[in-house]
Symmetry: C2
Subunit: 404 residues, 2 copies
């Protein structure tokens, strides 16, 4: 049988990165490649307790079909908290001519994918930071959208290049940004950059997808306001999730956008998975409202503060001159850039041979196959000893190859 597959998935071949991820099941490999949260951040005992309570007093609701929009008490709890704490979400009382609504999705990635489905016809384009999150890039491609990149600088996306691109790219529908502790770079854009980008997006009639899965994980510096918090025109679709603060395996995320946009997204979600796992929606609600949610997030932050600090120390000690790396103030990732003389596929391969898994930066380029001289490193799941040993190895390989 010769299968006649659709064109839109053709660009999504299982890639080199997949092979690296397969190696992560080998316990002898030091996993700097994974984006998994640290297992010690899962509040297992409390989740077990809440689960017992749900079976005791709400089992049928938790096991029966729910609405596509999500479990209403959870939607309200998220909306209330993010409004109070981060200024996210406008109401009719704000008098801006629109009101934001929050709905539940099956992990942050689904929110991004649905936003694309709601806006992009085949051949429309999504403008992304270069580098950007591979999962989002593939979500856009799977909808037949073209992913275009604009260089990401230390203060955020390059605004001159962004405007240049939007001027000539008539089919740009969406601007996809991870402004805080970006994946893969760890960069947080400045407020000045954000204001400028917002103004450009508005001027060119492009919607912003603000992906913020790591925003709660700040362990240094001070919060920068989200795009959504100053979205007076209703052009920002805000995506976040519980994956990095409670559990990634439960697949519970959320999305805040103007009601009219949410209606489209709900229709799109309904035909994908009808609704998100009800049991864990209820669990998230109870965790947020009946447990020390803020205290738990502070604990999670402390875990990553320590791990990130350790990895930066080890990189400082082990990396030769000519190698630079970002110093994130939160999130899970460090972006490490080698001299252009180094063949990065070879670098990643040699590191893996010595039992350290890294993700080559080329996995994150909006234009498939574009060159990239960086690697993404995560400090989230490796032990302290592994971080020290892994940095020693990758520094050694870097020295060898720069010397080559």
């Amino acid at each position: 049988m010769e299968y006649r597959f659709s064109d839109k998935l053709a660009a999504l071949k299982p890639s080199a990165i997949r092979e690296i991820f397969k190696s992560l099941t080998d316990p002898s490999i030091i996993a700097f490649a994974a984006g998994n949260p640290a297992a010690e951040t899962f509040p297992i005992d409390e989740m077990a307790e809440i689960s017992r309570e749900i079976y005791a007093d709400m089992a049928v609701t938790a096991l029966q079909y729910g609405t596509t929009e999500g479990y209403m008490p959870l939607r309200r709890a998220i909306a209330d908290r993010q409004r109070a704490k981060f200024g996210i979400g406008k109401t009719a009382e704000d008098g801006l001519g629109f009101a934001d609504t929050t709905v539940i999705v099956s992990g942050g990635n689904q929110g991004i994918e649905l936003a694309c489905k709601a806006f992009c016809n085949e051949g429309d384009s999504v403008v992304c930071e270069d580098p950007s999150f591979i999962g989002a890039l593939n979500s856009f491609r799977s909808n037949g959208a073209v992913t275009l990149g604009v260089p990401l600088r230390e203060d955020g996306i390059d605004t001159a290049a962004l405007e240049e691109l939007l001027k000539r790219e008539k089919r740009a529908k969406l601007l996809y940004l991870i402004p805080t502790f970006q994946n893969p770079s760890g960069i947080t854009s400045t407020l000045e950059n954000r204001k400028k980008v917002y103004e450009i997006a508005l001027r060119y009639g492009v919607m912003i997808i603000e992906d913020n899965p790591y925003g709660e994980l700040r362990f240094a510096g001070t919060d920068v306001p989200t795009y959504k918090s100053f979205d007076t025109e209703g052009i920002v679709i805000y995506c976040s999730s519980f994956s990095k603060i409670l559990s990634s395996g439960m697949r519970v995320g959320y999305l805040t956008a103007p009601e009219e946009v949410i209606q489209k997204i709900v229709v799109a979600k309904q035909v994908e998975d009808v609704h998100t796992n009800m049991f864990f929606q209820i669990l998230c609600h109870r965790y947020m409202t009946e447990r020390d949610f803020e205290g738990h997030i502070a604990d999670v932050r402390a875990v990553y503060r320590r791990k990130c600090g350790l990895m930066l120390d080890c990189l400082d000690r082990n990396m030769p001159a000519g190698v630079s790396f970002t110093r994130p103030e939160g999130g899970l990732f460090i972006w490490c850039t080698l001299p252009e003389s180094v063949d990065m596929n070879d670098y990643v391969k040699r590191c893996l041979e010595r039992k350290v898994a890294l993700v080559p930066g080329s996995a994150f380029t909006p234009v498939i196959g574009a060159p990239c001289n960086s690697v993404r490193m995560s400090y989230s799941t490796a032990t302290d000893a592994q971080i020290a040993e892994g940095c020693r190895v990758i520094g050694e390989v870097a020295r060898e190859m720069i010397g080559d």
Copy 2:
């Protein structure tokens, strides 16, 4: 802000049916409209026990990211059981030139949607039974596919009309069938019909999506072999789920198809929700392998046998001449057809005014807006008293309107 939404969701406006579903939250309404399983079929105590065990011995795996393909022990348990029990799934040893694989999806609907995404470009068509499952129809439309209908007869889809359609429809890529206890009609197609349909699909190079969420719910008659069980050419994508036998709210389904097809589907799933809720995948596995799964399914069947029998008795007693209805041997639905003189929107509206919710058949037509003189009724969630009272009401309204 004037939002420029994509075209492919334009056909998916919130419909009349949505309004009916909203009314289902009103406890004074008799819910013949819902497709929800009966809450008494959820094995709550056992699920609570297994959940405790998972937190005790496997919490990190259950709460951490998993693979897109799904939890391997569950995949194996499903594949082994359905091969042994229903002859579903070919292996390399069968010598057919392909091997089937089973992957986990977030409910049966996601499997159907992913199958469409893997095969259909915009403008391609999916041939469906008329009537067919609204969720699937909308999944196809959301991928930019055109849904075409072929009349469903008492023995299955009309094979002459199917061949006629495929002869002229060059862009047909998929044939979507719910051969057993069909939603909405309750019809089970005969083996003769299935063999004929398979031969036609093969001849015209069209893949079959066999949607079988109700197959385990047979309470009368004898099993008819699934398409997948005699799929010697690798053209059948088999979708099913735990929604009707364990819990619908957990969103765990599965999909069996040739490895080459599954690879595409996994890529498509990865960009939607990365993977299905891990905790409940593990729970399903333990339920299947450590509890009396077959005994539980027998219990579920008994619930629906009784409820369906009661509703058929009540319809026999209350429906006037000129009204016909299917007599399903399993599943959740009865399809009730009124004389053409009756305005069906009006009928459904009058019934709802008297507190009985039905789904108008027009919701299930592959061609949007096609006329349909039937309603879908479910006996799954109403109490015995509600089934009696509801049938009395809808019979009364039918008599009034036929007499009108």
